[in-house]
Amino acid sequence: MRKDKSVALGLFGIAVLYSIGCMELKLGTLRKPGPGFFPSLIAAALVLCTAVHTYKVFTRKTETSSPPEGTQAVNLRAWVGIAICVFAYPALLMSLDFVLSTFATVFAMLVILRFKAWPVCLLVSLFTAIACFVVFAMLLGVALPSGFIEMFLYRLRG
């Protein structure tokens, strides 16, 4: 129920922020609609719908069923771990280049998800990072951030 309320409030917040953004745009007239014409229609409908939804959620009777505590702890670890990895990856990519950042991200996820002992995770993530670079950069020609490791791999290919 707490999740329901948080999401409802979040959606209402987004609707309000979107409406505020609309106010900066020229509305125009029916004869000559401006850039804010369509967004304003959406904003009005969105605020109305999210307000009704929030009201419904807050006036609904609460249910008191919750999952067992043990599983919740395990689940939270996996969820938070993966989410952090996904958010951290772009930051790592900017500073560590492709192979190292990919290796670090995959290794972290494998450890968080308790794949195997850490040396196995280390080897799997190293192989994944290099294989990924070979497929994307060398075979498909994607311009990935490259440093000395990537240059070394390019040189190996000749």
Partner: protein
Amino acid sequence: MEVWQSLAHGFSVALLPGNLFFALVGAVVGTITGILPGIGPLGAMAILLSFTLYMDATTAMIFFAGIYYGAMYGGSTTSILLRIPGEAASVVTCLDGYEMAKKGRAGAALTISAVGSFVAGNISILGLMVAAPLLGKIALKFGPPEFVAIGLCGLIILVRLEEGSVLQSTIMILLGLGISTVGTDYLSGSLRFTLHSEQLAQGLDLLPVAMGLFGIAEVLDTATRAQGENRVIKVKLRELLPSGREWQRSVSPIFRGSFLGFLIGLIPGPSPVISTFVSYVTEKKLSKHPEEFGKGAIEGVAGPESANNSAVGGAYVPLMALGIPFTPAMAMVLGALMLHNITPGPNMIQQKPDLFWGVIAAMYMGNFMLVLLNLPMVNLFVGILRIPKPILFPIIVLLCLVGVYSVNASYVDLFAMALFGVIGYALREVGFKPAPLILAMVIGPMIENSLRQALLISGGELAPLVLRPICLTLYSLAFCGVVAPWVLKKWRSGRSRPANPLTGNKQNKVMR
């Protein structure tokens, strides 16, 4: 005659080694994603959208058609052998497919499902061949008001048909429309909701949003759930042949399912899913043995499995003829076309015959490949479910991350994907379905531009936007589509109220 010549030309395109290879890869990838619960054709397309950048447009379409059909085949395999629907369109197959498997008829169920899918796929492609060019010719007469009407009616019907509450679907659609307005306004050149970011001036790409909402959110969702061991029923090759009676009982459901599926595929919404339910109910009503349904009736497998494959062909019609995706998966196909600067629509069939007829021919081949692949290799495909999740998840996440980065080399896209991943997870947790958001995001710019053009042309008059014959017909149909089920429900509940034994009046509340 012209159709057959064009189809022959299509085969000459589809039989090129590169296209043939990607049809096969698409079929295999589709089957795998159909088998893996959760990912489904939409997730697979979202994850692999960036790969299509390195193919030409025709190959990309062939690849995606293979994925879509393959997912429908793969989903049925796990439904029959494990009672796990790989994707939503296979839920109904679990009811009788798994019961058949428990009785030792898994092979027969799989064969009927594959043959039904093959027949239905071919019938729907035939429908697509005939309907899309016809609709395309009619659509050449469409102006901005008609496109507004098609877009709006599509979204209205989608709200009605999408599972979950109407309010939730409406919110998702409005959010999608809102996201589509981010970036530069094409008519005035003004910047909207860009937060002074240069990268947001180009708007939010479909790719990071779709990959976040489907790829990352799916991983987050599945990772948090407890994993159980899957017990797979093994199938031997000699057990694959159905008996004469099973064949006989399956013929009519296969053809009925094919026609129903194609027609339902033309309607906006999750048509493959709806078609399976409609087909199942129809077969149960028409069957001489309705009591066997739910206990292993072959009709309960043949009809729905044919219907969901046929709906795929139907769903391609509005996309190819009008350039409007009516299902979220078609929005992905449109996204792949847009990556190649191709906007499908009424002119595409004439201007890009290679693309249209190449895809049609590839669909025939894809169907053929899937029958050949799926039956003998069924045990191998099901074995994929034994891959441990801790290794599968990092690979999916990595594919999403690298896939998004590879399109624009943009860190903003990566952050956007991560953000939409978390948002998608939160929305799923409370019962919101993100598919309408994607569809609205894709249709949004068309609706907005057409609406503004229509208002400019009409001088601000609203009547021409509604009263033109096609518009009026479409709005009336949408109105009926929304109101009719509600009226029907009220009427039925009115009839089912029992009479008060003392007064003879009908009671307002159902008696316990």
